[in-house]
C-alpha cells in the first residue's frame, strides 16, 4: 500500500473529514460525560440511548468506532454487539466496551468473543478514552484513505485495462491492417508478376512476329533478287539476238521491219532498266547500312559525275552550298543524291534546268534540300511519288521506272530520316530529307514496307 500513497501524496496531507463516533449508553449523564471528553477530537458524535437506537444509527451511517455500554436494560451491550456483528457492513466496525470496575475476567472475555476490540473501565479516564478513540479514528481515516486509494487504484486499473483494451483493439486493427497490407501486397505481387508474365508473353509474341516478318521479308527479297537475275538471262538473249538479226540483215530489211525490230530492242532495254532498278532496290533492303564519316560535298560531286551525261545534254546548272560532314552509308547517299538531282534535271518541262543543293543543321539532324525550277508536282501526289512504280507522266514524256523516289525514301528511312517534297506545278519542286547526326543504333536490315507492295 505504501507505494500507492506515495503516488498520491496530497491524499495523505489532506485534513481528513470528521468521522462518526457512536456512543451507546442508557444513562444520558454518561453520554454527556463521553461527549465532553471526545468533543475536542473534532469528530461527529452520535448518541444512542439504547442498543436498538444504536442499531438504527448503524443502519444509516458509517461509524469509525462504537463506544458501547455493557450494562443496559432490555438489550445489553453484548447482545447489541452480537447484532451489530451480524450485519455484514459492520462486521469490522471497532467496538469498545465500557464496563464498570469489578466485573469479572469472564465478562471481558465474553466481550472480546462478541466482537469487542477493546474495553474501557468506568469511571473513564478521559486521556485513555481519548487516546483509544483517536487510534480508531486514525484507523478509520487510514482505512478510508486506503479505500479511496483503492477506488482510485481500481479506476486506474480500469483505465489501464480499458487503455490496454484499446491498445489491444488498436493492435488488432493494426494487425488486421498489416494483414490486409500483406494480403494486398501479395495480390499486387501476384498481379505484377502476372502482368510481367503477360508483358513477357506479349513481347515474346512480338519478337516472334518480328522474326517471322524479317524471315519472310528476307525470303521475299531473295525471291525478287533471284527472279530478277533469272529474268535478265532470257532478256539478254532477246536483246542480243535481235541485235544480231539487225546486223545480219544490215540494210536488207524494209523500213517497217527495221522499225519493228527497233521496238523490240527498246522494249527489252526498258525491261532491263526496270530489272536493274528493282535489283538495286531489293539490294538496299537486303543490305545493312555501313555508316561512315562522309563529306556530303564529295558525295554530291560523285553523284554529279555519275550524271555527267544528262547534265551535259540538258545544259543543267547545278549549284551547291557548302555541305556538312556526317555519318552515312556512302554508296546509299550517292544513290540518293543521284536520284534527286537526276529527277530535278529530268523533269524540266523544256526549260534549262537549274538545281540548287543546300544543307542546314537542325537540333539533332541535318536537313538537306534539292531545289529545281522544273515542272513541279501537284499536292495530291506529294505522298504518292515515293511509292514504288508510281509514275506521274507518260513514258514518252519522261522515261523512268518509277523506282527512283521509292529508293530515295528507303535510303533516307534506313538512316532514320524523313523525306518529303514541297512543290507548285510549273514553278519547281524542293525535295527535303533529313539525316540524324547520330544514326548508329538505328540501323536496320530491310523493312516490310514499300517493297512488299512492289512485288
Amino acid at each position: 500500500m505504501e507505494p500507492e500513497t506515495q503516488t498520491h501524496p496530497q491524499a495523505a496531507e489532506e485534513k481528513p473529514a470528521p468521522v462518526n463516533i457512536l456512543m451507546v449508553d442508557d444513562e444520558p449523564a454518561n453520554l454527556l460525560a463521553l461527549e465532553a471528553v471526545l468533543e475536542s477530537l473534532g469528530q461527529r458524535l452520535v448518541r444512542a440511548g439504547s442498543g436498538r437506537e444504536a442499531l438504527r444509527h448503524l443502519m444509516n451511517e458509517e461509524f469509525a468506532v462504537i463506544l458501547l455500554d455493557v450494562a443496559m436494560p432490555v438489550m445489553d451491550g453484548f447482545e447489541t454487539a452480537r447484532l451489530i456483528r451480524q450485519r455484514e457492513k459492520n462486521r469490522l466496525t471497532p467496538i469498545i466496551f465500557l464496563t464498570a470496575v469489578g466485573r469479572t475476567e469472564t465478562e471481558i472475555f465474553r466481550g472480546y468473543k462478541v466482537g469487542a476490540v477493546d474495553y474501557l473501565l468506568k469511571p473513564l479516564v478521559p486521556e485513555i478514552l481519548k487516546s483509544k478513540v483517536l487510534v480508531f479514528i486514525e484507523l478509520h481515516n487510514k482505512t478510508r484513505q486506503i479505500q479511496k486509494l483503492n477506488v482510485e487504484l481500481e479506476r486506474y486499473v480500469r483505465e489501464l485495462e480499458s487503455a490496454n483494451l484499446e491498445l489491444k483493439k488498436e493492435n488488432a486493427v493494426r494487425r488486421r491492417a498489416e494483414q490486409e497490407l500483406r494480403h494486398s501486397d501479395e495480390k499486387l505481387r501476384n498481379l505484377n508478376s502476372s502482368l510481367e508474365q503477360r508483358v513477357a508473353e506479349r513481347s515474346a509474341l512480338a519478337e516472334e512476329r518480328a522474326r517471322e516478318l524479317a524471315r519472310s521479308n528476307a525470303e521475299l527479297q531473295q525471291f525478287v533478287h533471284v527472279s530478277s537475275h533469272d529474268l535478265r538471262e532470257p532478256l539478254r538473249m532477246i536483246t542480243s539476238f535481235v541485235q544480231l538479226l539487225q546486223r545480219h540483215f544490215d540494210h536488207q530489211l524494209d523500213p517497217t521491219s527495221e522499225e519493228y525490230l527497233q521496238y523490240v530492242v527498246e522494249g527489252a532495254r526498258r525491261i532491263q532498266r526496270l530489272i536493274d532498278d528493282l535489283l538495286s532496290y531489293t539490294r538496299l533492303g537486303g543490305r545493312s547500312l555501313s555508316p561512315e564519316t562522309v563529306q556530303s560535298g564529295e558525295i554530291v560531286q560523285e553523284a554529279l559525275s555519275n550524271l555527267t551525261l544528262s547534265i551535259e545534254e540538258s545544259g543543267a546548272q547545278v549549284t551547291c552550298e557548302p555541305l556538312p560532314e556526317l555519318e552515312a552509308d556512302r554508296t546509299h547517299l550517292v544513290l540518293l543524291f543521284q536520284n534527286l538531282i537526276g529527277n530535278a534535271i529530268k523533269f524540266n518541262g523544256g526549260k534549262k534546268p537549274k538545281v540548287h543543293i543546300r544543307a542546314r543543321a537542325e537540333m539533332d539532324q541535318w536537313l538537306f534540300s534539292v531545289e529545281d525550277n522544273g515542272i513541279g508536282i501537284e499536292p495530291q501526289y506529294f505522298e504518292k511519288i515515293f511509292v514504288v512504280f508510281q509514275r506521274l507522266h507518260a513514258r514518252e514524256e519522261y522515261p523512268g521506272t518509277g523506282i527512283g523516289l521509292a529508293l530515295c525514301k528507303k535510303i533516307v528511312e534506313q538512316h532514320n530520316g524523313k523525306i518529303w517534297v514541297k512543290s507548285e506545278p510549273g514553278k519547281g519542286s524542293v525535295f527535303y530529307f533529313t539525316i540524324p547526326k547520330q544514326i548508329r543504333g538505328g540501323q536496320h536490315v530491310g523493312q516490310v514496307g514499300d517493297e512488299s507492295k512492289a512485288v
Binding site: 537475275h229 535478265r232 538471262e233 539478254r236 539476238f241 532495254r269
Partner: protein, 146 residues
C-alpha cells in the same frame, strides 16, 4: 569449227565453257568480226572442260587452247572448281582463263580473282559491248600470244 582461216597461221583457239547454246552462238557470231582467225571450241559443262584440258574421254586428241572463256554457273562441275583446278595445275595454269558470266555478284568477282582468273567479264546486254570485248581479246590476248 574453224573460223576464217588465214593462210599459214594456225587459228587462235578459244575454249568456251558454257552451258547455254545461245551464248555459244553469240560468241561465235561475234568472233566472226575479229581481225584474227579464231577457232572456238565449246564444251557444255565443267567436267567436259576438264576432260578437254586433260585429253580424256572423247577429247583424247584435244590440243591445249590459247585461251579459256569460263562460265561460272555450270552443271556437274562448277566453273569455280574448273578455275581452281586449272590454276592449281602447273601444266595448265599458264593458259589465260577469263571468267565470263552473267553474275555481277561481288563475291563471285572476288573469288574468281582469288583463284587467279585472268579477267572477269560480265556477259553484256548489248552487241556494242560485245564488240568491246572482242576488241579487248584481240588487243590484249590474241596479239600478245601470237
Amino acid at each position: 569449227m574453224s573460223v576464217k582461216l588465214e593462210m599459214s597461221q594456225r587459228p587462235f583457239e578459244i575454249l568456251q565453257v558454257e552451258d547455254n547454246p545461245a551464248d555459244i552462238t553469240i560468241m561465235k557470231e561475234i568472233l566472226k568480226m575479229a581481225k584474227f582467225p579464231v577457232r572456238l571450241i565449246a564444251v557444255r559443262n565443267g567436267s567436259e572442260a576438264l576432260d578437254y584440258l586433260y585429253h580424256e574421254g572423247k577429247y583424247q586428241d584435244s590440243r591445249e587452247p590459247d585461251l579459256i572463256l569460263l562460265d561460272l554457273n555450270l552443271p556437274k562441275v562448277d566453273g569455280r572448281e574448273v578455275l581452281a583446278q586449272i590454276k592449281q595445275d602447273r601444266l595448265l595454269s599458264h593458259i589465260p582463263t577469263l571468267v565470263m558470266t552473267s553474275s555481277k555478284n561481288e563475291a563471285d568477282v572476288l573469288e574468281a580473282y582469288k583463284n587467279n582468273a585472268n579477267f572477269y567479264i560480265v556477259k553484256p546486254m548489248d552487241m556494242d559491248h560485245y564488240m568491246v570485248i572482242v576488241k579487248y581479246l584481240e588487243d590484249f590476248w590474241i596479239k600478245k600470244t601470237k
